[in-house]
């Protein structure tokens, strides 16, 4: 756990170029895993999400080059059902950690979205305007919601890694 944290601290300091180069290696390793044992798809998914940090509101954030990409977790999208509309903020909007920044609508229910970090919105996923279902189909990849600056990196330490998040979800059932 400590090793992983140390590694993440190191990568956070790397330049974006270095991080780009390292990604193809990671992806092909995942493909090997998939071929070797399709039943291990769960661990492949969790391998993808090792770079993610989670909030207790089921949002995730992935940090790359000082920018955080934000989305909702598999648990959240399953609980929501089919997303029919994504109400997202404007580019340039400043968000405080835990501030409401939008809502996802599914079967007549509007579910509020809460910012995992303090920062400014740099990009919103415009694909979701025409295809809101991407949030269900690919919640960790193309179904991302917003990208934002990270004004206070220490806030990341307060978020859950994938193991802690898995434990958290299990505790909700009890």
């Amino acid at each position: 756990m400590a090793m992983r944290v140390a590694f993440r601290c190191l990568t956070a300091n790397f330049s974006p170029v270095l991080i780009q180069r390292s990604r193809p290696v990671q992806i092909s390793a995942n493909r090997l895993l998939w071929k070797a044992n399709p039943a291990q798809s769960l661990s492949t998914a969790s391998r993808l999400s090792t770079a993610l940090k989670f909030t207790d509101k089921h949002e995730w954030v992935r940090v790359e080059g000082g920018i955080g990409t934000v989305g909702i977790s598999k648990f959240a999208q399953e609980a929501l059902g089919d997303v029919v509309y994504c109400g997202l903020p404007e580019v340039g909007q400043k968000l405080e950690q835990m501030e409401e920044f939008g809502a996802l609508e599914s079967v007549k229910a509007a579910s509020e979205l809460y910012s995992p970090l303090t920062g400014e919105v740099t990009e919103i996923n415009t694909e979701l305007a025409v295809n809101p279902g991407l949030v269900n189909k690919s919640c960790y990849e193309v179904g991302w919601l917003i990208k934002m600056t990270i004004d206070n990196p220490a806030e990341l330490d307060g978020l859950m890694d994938d193991c802690s998040y898995e434990k958290f979800i299990k505790s909700l059932d009890e």
Binding site: Y85, E105, A110
Partner: protein, 379 residues
């Protein structure tokens, strides 16, 4: 059903001494009752006050180990869902003529017409206990309790149908940080003619990704049985709610304009009333339509293309045949509209100012006036 006012509730609880000194807020009083189930009924028929009270309860009352039912009805109003387009969903001209306000709620779902013949029910729970089907069962059981032979059933989409055909209830919900609310309508004796008139949009050519309503044939419970009035139904639902969840709560009356018990509620009602929320929160959309311009001697077809974001006209192109109106005039007018609200009042002011700049020519003025009027009418 025993009806109590909020002040009675204070007197019942330990908080009565505290409220003698400084009036407790509703959430403090609720906590002090120690009750895990409460039923509230609004003293107001103002849609904005009642929507604000819903938000206030959702934000301020501890709902982790508590359920609440809120009963309310409103003077005529059209209520659209969080992500809807009012120009697409209702007849804004008729609403303005009849003084029927537009409200946008914070929950999802479609557009509904409220009047005093419609009962609204809001079920507050923790997110964990959020269960729309169970709530609707409270409603259908309550109705069957009054009339055992009544065919009322909840559908998968959380509507309630009468005789398998007519919609008598629609549902919407909002999920927040730790709590959720599910509200639904119940048509008892609503004005169906007015309902049909206001829920029909007249704005042509809208292209939008806003959530759209699914129109359904509706019926009043009163049509089925003339003895079923709103109060009887509200009492029955309150009773059934207690039975279903094992509570023994009386119905407590609440005044949603009481700022002392509900600090911040007046600001919340003002936010809901504001143009920036009701119209300005409309998802980006465009209008592309043709319309006729007539005068005593001739007719022509004009086109209008607009992009609207946050209710503001971002781009505007009005094209009128050059033999009807000089191209520069329609182009000038289009430019004047950019940056303004898609609002007939504001546009009328802009149009009036623009008309004053036109060179003195009666026929030109009349044609330009026609164009302005036609464009304003579309809003």
């Amino acid at each position: 059903m025993i009806l109590r006012t909020f002040s009675n509730l204070c007197a019942q609880s330990q908080a009565c001494f505290r409220s003698a000194r400084a009036k407790s807020t509703l959430s403090a009083v609720i906590d002090e009752t120690g009750k895990s189930g409460l039923i509230l009924k609004s003293l107001s028929t103002d849609i904005f006050e009642n929507l604000a009270l819903e938000d206030w309860i959702h934000n301020h009352v501890d709902l982790q180990n508590r359920n609440m039912l809120f009963l309310w009805s409103n003077a005529p109003a059209v209520v659209i869902g969080r992500h809807q387009n009012p120009w697409q969903e209702c007849n804004l001209q008729v609403m303005r003529q009849k003084g029927i306000p537009l409200a946008r709620r914070r929950s999802g779902g479609g557009t509904v017409f409220h009047d005093l013949g419609n009962v609204n029910l809001t079920f507050f729970t923790s997110k964990k206990n959020y269960d729309r089907h169970r709530n609707l069962q409270v409603v259908t059981s309550a109705l069957k309790g009054l009339r055992p032979d009544m065919d009322v059933r909840a559908t998968e989409r959380f509507d309630i149908l009468l005789n398998g055909q007519h919609k008598i209830s629609g549902t919407a919900a909002k999920l927040g940080r730790t709590a959720a609310y599910h509200h639904c309508t119940l048509l008892c004796s609503a004005d169906r003619a007015l309902l049909s008139a206001v829920l029909k949009s007249t704005c042509q050519g809208i292209k939008s990704n806003a959530t759209q309503s699914v129109p359904s044939p509706v019926k009043n419970l009163l049509d089925e049985d003339p003895t079923l009035d709103c109060d009887t139904i509200m009492d029955s639902v309150a009773s059934q709610y207690n039975t279903e969840f094992g509570f023994s709560s009386p119905v407590t009356l609440v005044d949603p304009s009481d700022e002392l018990s509900l600090p911040g509620i007046q600001r919340m009602a003002r936010e809901l009333l504001a143009w920036e929320w009701t119209f300005g929160r409309t998802p980006k959309f465009s209008i592309c339509t043709t319309f006729e311009l007539k005068n005593d001697t001739s007719i022509c077809n004009a086109t209008l293309n607009m992009d609207i974001k946050n209710g503001i006209i971002e781009t505007c192109d009005i094209e009128v045949p050059s033999d009807w109106l000089p191209v520069e005039l329609s182009r000038e007018f289009s430019l004047h509209l950019i940056g303004g609200k898609l609002c007939p009042y504001e546009t009328s002011v802009i149009a009036a100012e623009f008309l004053r700049t036109i060179p003195q020519n009666k026929e030109l003025e009349r044609k330009m006036y026609n164009l302005c009027r036609r464009v304003v009418f579309m809003m």
